[in-house]
C-alpha cells in the first residue's frame, strides 16, 4: 500500500525573512542536509513514530498535533457513517421493495444527494437550523460555557478526546448533550451525502436478492412479506455492502475535510487545510502519512470482517 506519499522536495522552505534567521531555522529543521539524507531521516523517524517538527509556528512535533486533532475527526466520521448506513439501507430496501413511485423517489434521492457538495448541504442546514430557527449550534464542538471534565483514575485523567464518550465516562450530562447538539448538523450533512452510495448499493443488491430462489422458497412457505424482506433478503443483500465500506471510508475522510472546515471543527481535516495555508509541509506530509496508514488499517479490518461474515471467503 501507499504508506509514504509525498516527496522530500516538499520540504523546501519558502520564507521572505532575514537570511540568518532562515539559516538558523533551516539548520534546526535539518533542511541543510542533502535531500536523500532528509528523506532517510524522515523514514527513520517514521519507523519510530516520529513525524518530524512542524515548519510553522513554534516548530512543535507534528505527531502529537495530529493525535490531538484526530478524535474530533473520528467522532464526526463515526456518527456520519451511522447516519449514512441507516438512511441508505432503509431507503434502498424501501426502493427495492416498492416499485413505482416510492422506488422512483428513492432513485432520485440517491442521484440528487450524490450531486450535493457536502459543504453546500452543511451551509443550508446551518442556515435553516442555526440561523433561521436557532435550534442548533452551527460551529465548534462545545459551547464556550461548557467545561469538559474527565474521568479521574488515581489522579490521572482518562481522556479519549471523543467528547460524547468522555462526557459519559465522567457522567457530565450537560457536556454530553452539548456535544451531541454540536454533532447533529455536521454528521447529518456528511452522512446524507455519503448515504447516496448506500442507497444505490442496497437497492441494486436487494433487487437481485429478491429474485433469488431462497426468497421465493421463503414466500412459498407462507412467511410474512415483512419477514421475507427483512430477515431473509436484506441480510444477504447487506453482505456485499461490507466490502464497499472500506472504500467509503476514504470518501468519508474527503468529506470530513470539507465538513470540518464548514463547521469550524478542530479535526484532522481542518488541521490539514490550516497547515496547507501556512505551507507547513511536514505537517501536511505527516497528516497524509497518518491518513494512508489509517485507510490501510481500515481496509484490512473490512477484509477480515468480510471473511468472517461470508463463510465462502477464506483468508
Amino acid at each position: 500500500m501507499r504508506v509514504l506519499p509525498g516527496n522530500p522536495v516538499l520540504l523546501r522552505f519558502e520564507k521572505n525573512a532575514d537570511p540568518a534567521l532562515i539559516a538558523q531555522y533551516t539548520h534546526a529543521l535539518g533542511l541543510d542536509k542533502p535531500l536523500y539524507v532528509q528523506y532517510f531521516d524522515y523514514l527513520w523517524g517514521l519507523l519510530h513514530g516520529d513525524l518530524g517538527l512542524s515548519m510553522a509556528g513554534a516548530f512543535e512535533p507534528v505527531g502529537p498535533q495530529i493525535m490531538s486533532r484526530f478524535p474530533a475527526t473520528l467522532e464526526l466520521t463515526v456518527y456520519a457513517f451511522i447516519v449514512a448506513v441507516v438512511v441508505g439501507v432503509l431507503l434502498g430496501a424501501l426502493g427495492a421493495r416498492k416499485p413505482g413511485a416510492p422506488d422512483d423517489s428513492v432513485k432520485v434521492f440517491g442521484i440528487l444527494i450524490y450531486a450535493f457538495p457536502v459543504f453546500f448541504l452543511g451551509m443550508i442546514l446551518q442556515l435553516v437550523f442555526g440561523i433561521w430557527i436557532h435550534a442548533l449550534p452551527v460551529s465548534g464542538r462545545l459551547d464556550p460555557g461548557v467545561i469538559p471534565t474527565n474521568l479521574m483514575i488515581y489522579g490521572h485523567p482518562i481522556q479519549t478526546g471523543i467528547l460524547t464518550i468522555d462526557s459519559l465516562l465522567s457522567a457530565n450530562l450537560p457536556e454530553f448533550i452539548d456535544a451531541v447538539r454540536h454533532l447533529i448538523l455536521p454528521a447529518t450533512a456528511l452522512g446524507l451525502v455519503i448515504s447516496g452510495i448506500f442507497v444505490r448499493m442496497t437497492r441494486a443488491n436487494m433487487m437481485e436478492t429478491m429474485r433469488a430462489d431462497f426468497v421465493t422458497a421463503a414466500r412459498a412457505r407462507g412467511l410474512k412479506e415483512r419477514t421475507v424482506v427483512y430477515s431473509y433478503a436484506l441480510r444477504n443483500a447487506l453482505l456485499p455492502i461490507v466490502t464497499i465500506m472500506g472504500l467509503q471510508f476514504a470518501l468519508l475522510l474527503s468529506g470530513a475535510i470539507l465538513t470540518e472546515t464548514e463547521f469550524s471543527i478542530l479535526g484532522l481535516g481542518s488541521y490539514l487545510v490550516d497547515r496547507i495555508n501556512f505551507r507547513d509541509y511536514t505537517a501536511v506530509q505527516g497528516t497524509v502519512v497518518f491518513l494512508a496508514i489509517l485507510i490501510s488499517s481500515v481496509s484490512l479490518i473490512v477484509d477480515i470482517l468480510y471473511a468472517y461474515l461470508d463463510p465462502r471467503v477464506r483468508l
Binding site: 450531486a115 459543504f119 443550508i124 470539507l258
Partner: protein, 294 residues
C-alpha cells in the same frame, strides 16, 4: 429461377452505437433526457455568458452590498455589491473548463493504459493495477490537495490533480472489461484470421468497452465539478478574482450569519445542478445498457 436475396448487414459505427441508446425508447430514457437538457442549458449559458449577462460580473458596487433579490438584481448582490445573476451566468465557465480538461486528460491517459495493460497481462499489468488501486483507495480530495500544494495553484494544475485522482476509475473499468472480453471466442477468431494486436484492440475489443467508458466519464464530470468546488472551498481552487460558483459559495458563507442566503443558494445550486445533469446522464445510460439495474 430464384434469386437469392442478399442482405448486407451494415456494421454499426461506434458513434451509432453510442447514439442509439440515447434517443431510442426504453429504460432510463427520462433520466437521461433530463440530464442532457440540464447539461445543454448550463453549457449554453456558460458559452453565451458575455451576451446574456445583464452586468459585468466583476463590477463592484453596482448595488448596495448584500441586497436581497429584487427587480433590479433578480438574484441579489454579494458583499461587494456585485450582481449575483451576472456572476451566476459567468460562473460556470472555469469550473466546467477544469472538468472538461480533467476528463480529457483521463480519457487520453487512463483508457490506453487500461486497454494495453489488461491485454498484455503479466507482471507489468499487476504492477500497474497495484499502483492504480493504491491511488483509488486514497481519499480523492487529500490527493488533489497534495498535488496542488506541491505544484502550485493554477487552473492547469487543478485539472491535472483531478485527472490523477480519477484515472484509476477509468483504468479499473477498462481493465476489468478487457480481461473478460479478451477471452471471448470472437477475439480468438479475429486473431486466427490474422488480425494484429492494434487491430484486435481497437476494432474488436474497444467497441465493447465504450459503453462503460461513457458511464465512467459522465460520473467523472460530476465528480470533477464537485472536487473543483471543494478545492475552491478550502482555498486551493481557482483565483478568487474570477466569477465562479465555487468561489461565490466559499466567500458567500461569510455573510451567512447575517442571513444572506441568496449568494450561497444560487451559486451552490448551480454546482448542484451541473453535477446533477451529468449524474442523470450517467444513471440513465447505465440503466439502458445494464439490464440488472432495472
Amino acid at each position: 429461377m430464384t434469386t437469392i436475396q442478399r442482405t448486407r448487414v451494415k456494421p454499426q459505427s461506434v458513434m451509432g452505437k453510442l447514439l442509439t441508446p440515447v434517443f431510442g425508447k426504453g429504460y432510463g430514457r427520462g433520466l437521461m433526457l433530463v440530464g442532457i437538457a440540464v447539461t445543454i442549458f448550463i453549457a449554453a449559458m456558460s458559452i453565451l455568458a458575455p451576451f446574456i449577462a445583464p452586468h459585468d460580473p466583476t463590477a463592484i458596487g453596482l448595488g448596495q452590498p448584500n441586497s436581497p433579490p429584487s427587480a433590479m438584481f433578480p438574484m441579489g448582490t454579494d458583499q461587494y455589491g456585485r450582481d449575483m445573476l451576472s456572476r451566476i451566468v459567468w460562473g460556470g465557465r472555469f469550473i466546467l473548463l477544469v472538468a472538461v480538461a480533467a476528463v480529457a486528460i483521463c480519457l487520453v491517459i487512463g483508457l490506453p493504459i487500461g486497454l494495453v495493460s489488461a491485454y498484455v497481462g503479466g507482471n507489468a499489468d499487476r504492477t500497474i493495477a497495484l499502483v492504480m488501486d493504491s491511488i483509488y483507495a486514497f481519499p480523492s480530495l487529500v490527493l488533489a490537495i497534495m498535488i496542488i500544494s506541491v505544484f502550485g495553484v493554477t487552473i492547469i494544475n487543478e485539472a491535472l490533480a483531478i485527472a490523477v485522482v480519477y484515472i484509476p476509475s477509468y483504468f479499473r473499468v477498462v481493465r476489468s472489461q478487457v480481461l473478460s472480453i479478451k477471452e471471448m471466442p470472437y477475439v480468438d477468431a479475429a486473431k486466427s484470421a490474422g488480425a494484429g494486436t492494434p487491430s484486435v484492440l481497437l476494432r474488436y475489443i474497444w467497441p465493447n468497452v465504450t459503453a462503460s467508458v461513457v458511464v465512467v466519464a459522465t460520473v467523472n464530470f460530476a465528480d470533477s465539478i464537485l472536487t473543483t468546488a471543494g478545492l475552491d472551498f478550502i482555498g486551493l481552487g481557482l483565483p478568487v478574482t474570477l466569477p465562479d460558483w465555487g468561489i461565490d459559495l466559499t466567500y458567500g458563507r461569510q455573510a451567512l450569519p447575517i442571513g444572506v442566503w441568496w449568494t450561497i443558494v444560487f451559486s451552490g445550486g448551480m454546482i448542484l445542478l451541473a453535477a446533477l445533469g451529468f449524474s442523470l446522464i450517467s444513471e440513465g445510460y447505465a440503466e439502458r445498457v445494464n439490464p440488472k439495474l432495472r
